[in-house]
Symmetry: C2
Amino acid sequence: MSTDAVVTTAAYEACPVTGVLRIIGDKWSPAVLRLLAERGHGFNELDRSIEGISRRMLTRTLRSLEESGYVLRTPYGPAPARVEYTLTARGRSLREQLRALGQWASVHDTGP
Amino acid sequence: MSTDAVVTTAAYEACPVTGVLRIIGDKWSPAVLRLLAERGHGFNELDRSIEGISRRMLTRTLRSLEESGYVLRTPYGPAPARVEYTLTARGRSLREQLRALGQWASVHDTGP
């Protein structure tokens, strides 16, 4: 381990931006955030709307977004209750950050 | 494959922000961008300055940042030439985006 590390693992892990980058750098979170920014969606709706995502990955992505406080999961209707996913205020605010990054990216032509 | 997909794989891959998110969502790129934003660094300097990164991952991260136009690799001095890595204008601009995201993240308390 380098003794004169400027960027230590501890500092890196504690940095607030690290948590955000994990979310937005994840393959499917941006797509889910984008759809939920339009309106609330049910699980199957999200599954149908995102090409290539498995139900397992959608479950994992939604749980991670929920745990990070970006998405709210609301059961509704008689049992077996249906569920709607919506963006929280923090989720909407993150979506704005993504939109700004998208504008920056289109100006700087950063296609993959 | 879902026929009524709103977020198709093709559209997702072509979206400029996807390319940027791949870079900044990658484990080590933000740390390299941060160090190079301060000043140019040699390979060994970067290796010593980032705790936990392997030389193989540093090589891969630098190559990806170079290919995306964020980092410039400049050989200098007599053979075997030494190399300095610096941020391009696009790299400095991306670094500003990361800084803005960091400010957003510290306000929204998004620790990992």
